[in-house]
């Protein structure tokens, strides 16, 4: 299944191995792994909690993969996103793409991450020394997504 939303951690090597297994056409695998930082907007982050919109999240991630496959000549795409409580250094998100050559896989992976950042219904709440706070969306994420709409 190319989409997973889960509380549990995941094994990067095992996921990549499964994604390309049995497909000798694959010459490139590009992955993006997002991890929890211990600092955001000048505050220490002790823990964070990820909330999502069950039902819509799956639809949004499926749409991301559908669009990536329509735009680039890629074979497989995988998105794993964790929800629930997470600590600094924890893995949060994995996007992985296989293709014959690296160019298509790099572009598709970056597109999928930019799309996920602006369209998938996840929200981060950080626990800082000053109290809990919801993370604000970044204008730079919208700008990153807008690049893909121009071409």
């Amino acid at each position: 299944m190319p989409i997973r939303i889960q509380e549990n951690d995941f094994d990067l090597s095992a996921e990549i191995a499964a994604l390309r297994q049995g497909d000798p056409r694959v010459g490139a695998v590009v992955t993006f792994l997002g991890t929890v930082r211990d600092m955001n907007d000048g505050s220490q982050v002790k823990e964070m909690t990820l909330e999502h919109y069950p039902g819509m999240t799956e639809k949004a991630l499926e749409e991301i993969i559908t669009q990536a496959k329509a735009r680039w000549d890629i074979y497989q795409a995988l998105v794993i996103h964790r929800v629930g409580p997470l600590l600094p250094e924890d893995q949060i998100v994995l996007v992985a793409v296989t293709s014959a050559h690296r160019g298509e896989a790099f572009a598709a992976c970056e597109f999928m991450m930019d799309y996920l950042k602006t369209a998938a219904p996840f929200w981060k709440k950080e626990d800082t020394p000053g109290g809990a706070r919801w993370v604000d969306a970044r204008v730079t994420d919208d700008a990153a997504m807008a690049r893909w709409k121009k071409n």
């Binding site: 997002g34 990820l50 909330e51 999502h52 919109y53 039902g55 819509m56 639809k59 949004a60 996103h81 949060i92 998100v93 991450m113 996920l116 950042k117 602006t118 369209a119 998938a120 219904p121 996840f122 929200w123 981060k124 709440k125 919801w134 993370v135 604000d136 969306a137």
Partner: protein, 85 residues
Amino acid sequence: MKLELRFFASLREALETSQESIDAPATVKTIADLRIFLVQRGGAWAQALAEGKALRCALNQHMVDANTSLQEGAEVAFFPPVTGG
């Protein structure tokens, strides 16, 4: 018109509500109309859903803009801009 409302993240906390079934009056035809109708409840609703607040909306679990028309039985969600990844 019967609607299923959903609220997430900071908006859910501000409203102290994650979901609600309502029967909206006939004047509520679009998502923008629904937002105005909810603001008229006053208190936390007026504050959290005020016109200047950056909110996103989804109709039947697809992100849409506020001019989108509502249909009977639709699931309508309001939430702040997303921050996953």
